[in-house]
Amino acid sequence: MTASILDSVEESKYKKVTDLNPQEEIAPGSALCAGCGGLEGMRLAMKVLGEDTLICNAAGCFTLISVYPFTPLKGSWLYTSMSGPVPAAQGARDALDIRMAKHGLDQKENMQVMVVAGDGATYDMGLSPTSAAIHRNLDFIYFCYDNEAYGNTGFQQSGSSPLGSYTMTSPSTLDHPAGSERSKKDLFGIWMAHNPPYLATVSPREPIDLSNKFKKAKDMKGPRLFICLSPCPTGWGFDPKETHLIAKLAVDTGIFPIKEFVNGKVIHTKRPRKRLPVEKYLERQKRFKHLFEPERRDDIIAQIQNNVDTYWEQYDE
């Protein structure tokens, strides 16, 4: 990006929530749970991206965004399969480019091609197709709503399920007190290693930060990748009204760093000034209940805390 473009980007930045596009790009009425954090993230993203978007979707909760004969979108939608949305985006992107170059399709007919996929589809089954697409420099936006498990099938463990979380396939037992025994994959790191032009984490609790990142990405080319931590009342076990509180605690405890990767550098766009202890986040969710009851598992909590501290040590000034 040239300096002058950067300047104009700076000027047109969102500063307060009333700057957001007042149009809703996703109509209400969908079958998603009340209080779904991922939907809030996608809603804010679509406000920036607008209707000239083709969404290629992976199997997951968000497949229920369009159930025949209904769609909440003003733009286009293609349901694919669990590991199919990225290659579908490739096919659609290639086809649009071919039609514009070879068949005289008007540039006005062009669309932003976007993938919407859950963490299971992203961290696990779809990892290799996505790696390949980034490597091919596919011009697309990837929106991963990360609810840290296979949600649509009833909340089973995925490569994104965090250490110490209970899922339907990683229960906490005497022999396996932690539930999920491994830290979640560092998807940001994995994607970053591909050196994409743009990569960011976003939180539904930070609409301004989120909107500015999508705005920046919208005008770029190549793979632009987003991980949206998506508090999930149903799977995580908290009251739907607390979705934003949980999202905020994820940031304030430092568990979920809000950052972006541009021009080879990681920048934390929202830094918790003083990190809260992780248990402030954990104790409000049923999936971590076994870390506190019947007795406190200080060992596991300390391990989670330690992981967070170790992460931030790299960036402490």
Partner: protein, 302 residues
């Protein structure tokens, strides 16, 4: 056979209620079957569950079109035409409604063919387990009692069996058993007769489909944004109500509503779309001025 249909919302324990019913019947020596029907909807949307109790082998599967007993856990469903709660009922169908309204009022208000059985089991749930809308135990207890033929001890054993599989503490289990006992005692028993369907079968009217053009042969939707036709307002158990005199127009509620159900009007005041608001209550929680009140939906027709 006795056919029981249960209505509620995802997250209210309706499926577990049907399983307690099934297990209780099984323990009492009957042939039994239970099953839930999930739609595409996630938590909050209407769901239905079924139980069949028979002296002989159950040669039926799937949804129950004509129930002998209808157990309605969530009264708000009755005013939602899409939930089709009373479909397939006759004057002989025994209807139970979880409500604070007296039975004759319910009959009149919902235009039911017969007097329903009424009990405020949410109140009981609040008393024993402090969760007014976790209805599994209470609704099953009511069902067992209405039906008759099954003793309290079988009901309690079934609750222990079924809830034992969830992560409940000993105290919670004990409270559930007390809850079941009270609910069981508070409704009358009808000792229903086991019904036989003997009105024969008639052939279905099969049609020969005509071939339609390809575009009409795949799930394609051109009516963009038509999702709004689905009125998810019926999911709500609680209603957020804005007190405008306390609102400063900061638009936080608008920014935070995942459904996009709040818009800012010309005077920069938020307006809630109650046709679609699912009642997550995020707006009320997030409002910095505490200008949004939470009101329970159930008493909406007083």
């Amino acid at each position: 056979m006795l056919r029981i249909r249960l209505h509620g919302r995802g997250g209210q324990g309706i499926k577990t209620a049907s399983q307690i019913l099934g297990t209780a019947a099984h323990l009492a020596g009957f042939q039994a079957q239970d099953f839930p029907l999930y739609g595409a909807e996630r938590r909050g949307a209407p769901i239905t569950a079924y139980a069949r109790v028979s002296k002989n082998i159950v040669l039926e599967r799937g949804a129950i079109a004509q129930p002998d007993i209808l157990l309605i856990g969530d009264e708000t469903l009755l005013s939602d035409p899409l939930a089709s709660v009373t479909e397939g009922t006759e004057s002989s169908t025994l209807i139970f409604i979880n409500s604070r309204h007296p039975s004759p009022d319910l009959k009149k208000h919902y235009q039911l063919e017969s007097l329903p059985v009424q009990l405020d089991i949410s109140g009981l749930c609040q008393k024993y387990i402090q969760k007014p809308m976790i209805l599994s135990t209470a609704l099953a207890a009511v069902g067992v009692r209405l039906m008759g033929h099954i003793g309290l001890h079988h009901l309690l054993k079934a609750i222990r069996d079924e809830l034992g599989q969830e992560r409940l503490s000993a105290d919670q289990l004990a409270n559930n058993l007390k809850l079941a006992e009270e609910a069981f005692q508070k409704v009358p028993s009808f000792d229903l007769e086991f019904r036989k369907f003997d009105d024969g079968f008639s052939a279905s009217h099969l049609v020969v489909l005509e071939r339609r053009p390809p575009v009409d042969s795949v799930p394609v939707i051109f009516a963009t944004g038509n999702m709004a036709l689905r009125k998810t307002g019926n999911w709500r158990t609680h209603r957020p109500v804005i007190h405008y005199e306390e609102c400063n127009g900061c638009a936080i509620c608008y920014a935070r509503c995942p459904e996009g159900d709040i818009r800012m009007d010309a005077n920069e005041k938020p307006v809630i779309d109650y046709d679609h608001c699912k009642g997550c209550l995020i707006c009320a929680t997030e409002c910095p001025k505490h200008a949004i009140e939470i009101i329970r939906e159930v008493a909406s027709w007083n």
